[in-house]
Symmetry: C2
């Protein structure tokens, strides 16, 4: 096990770069933090290296084979962490899974969702609902952002989370006879009018402006969730949960 | 309109106290921030006074009658704000609505939910689903916490959000023949087995440990949402949305 004690070690600089989207994409990797996420990444077979505090032990149950492990000081841990009280363990993971050819019958398409908690929660919900892949469109927060990873609680390692052009995706899904449902507050039908189906793609959109109008014009149908009380709308991750479970069950 | 320029003015100290739960409860008031929330509070008739930046104008559409308005410096705004880029307007609101006698047929009971975003999102979702009141049990984050207020997007002014002892509530609801449903991962029935009903109470629980076991022993039934994929569970606010809309529709 290597042991790095100097914060000036060039490895530290390399890891810190993974805090920006640009550098994550350049290297094709991302950083996950905390025992639960590192364990999920191990099971998902996506780890390139592990970084652990010199004051922590590797959990005895972890089968990390010949994955390199580096011990570092808590000062270095603090520099890499996005949380205020880091658990003291990180893994550098490969983005490779996201280049997997996507197969399946059920898809969640995400159009310009900005809030990392919302995106992460939707990836977690899509996983729970047995969705085959999440497609993150342009204008959305990066799916490897530390807060997205935290909210998704490891679901990145369970199903493909791919970036893509949603217009291309909608076209391709329709060619393959997958019904594509948008979500909208106007010119839409109540979701309960649609039964669960073997295959579908659901598009959810930006917290303020919803799904792009041109995308909505290309769907098979657009759905809305009725508001029985006085709130103006639902949180996008809650709406995605209601619709995915309705269409899935 | 009063104009306060000194950060040492005793009014400022009084307002700043509202950043803590203890002082909010002592005064029976709470502070909301931003144009949307202040407008909702105005419509909900719960405002005692308005605080606005000397660099902002009161929106012409606001009918604030004889509610006192105080102009303050942006430095003072910054001291009161929970957000990084405050909009420059606050209202001191009365908690009174929460002392309203609760009537109705549909209830959401919240047991020890810790995350302010989750609690706020559930209050917003309960409003959307036409729930008559939200009962926040002991051990939950304070419902007047600024982050809870922000996530709820004004729903505090649409339906009663009351603190209460959940054991007392469950007892009283059952006496009134309101079916009480807990949520649990074990010893529970799939939620789709239950049809929508005219009246119900749903209990959701802590992010880590779920609903208190003794409470679960006192319900009419406990529900679970199936996990079709590999995630361990759903976010509590997403689960609440799926269940409320299923029971409500």
């Amino acid at each position: 096990m290597k042991h790095i004690q100097s914060a000036k070690n060039p490895k530290i600089k390399e890891w810190k770069k993974l805090l920006t989207k640009k550098e994550r994409d350049k290297s094709g990797t991302f950083l996950v933090e905390g025992f639960h996420l590192v364990e999920e990444a191990l099971q998902g077979n996506q780890i390139k290296e592990i970084i652990i505090s010199e004051n922590k032990d590797m959990p005895p149950g972890w089968d990390y084979g010949d994955i390199p492990v580096t011990m570092v000081t808590d000062e270095i841990i603090g520099q890499l962490a996005d949380t205020e009280t880091p658990q003291g363990v990180f893994a550098v993971c490969s983005q490779e899974r996201s280049s997997e050819a996507v197969k399946g019958k059920r898809f969640l398409l995400i159009d310009a969702v900005q809030d990392p908690g919302n995106l992460g929660t939707m990836i977690r919900t899509a996983d729970a609902a047995g969705i085959d892949a999440v497609i993150v469109g342009e204008g959305s927060v990066d799916s490897y952002n530390p807060k997205v990873l935290r909210s998704a609680q490891g679901s990145h390692f369970h199903l493909p989370v791919k970036r893509g052009n949603l217009f291309d995706w909608v076209g391709r899904l329709k060619e393959n006879n997958v019904p594509v449902y948008g979500t909208a507050l106007e010119n839409a039908r109540e979701y309960t009018k649609y039964e669960s189906s073997e295959s579908f793609a659901l598009i959810v959109g930006n917290e303020g402006s919803g799904v792009n109008k041109e995308l909505l014009a290309n769907t098979d149908a657009n759905l809305y969730i009725p508001i029985f009380g006085k709130s103006e709308s639902l949180n996008v991750a809650v709406a995605a949960g209601i619709l995915l479970y309705h269409l899935r069950k």
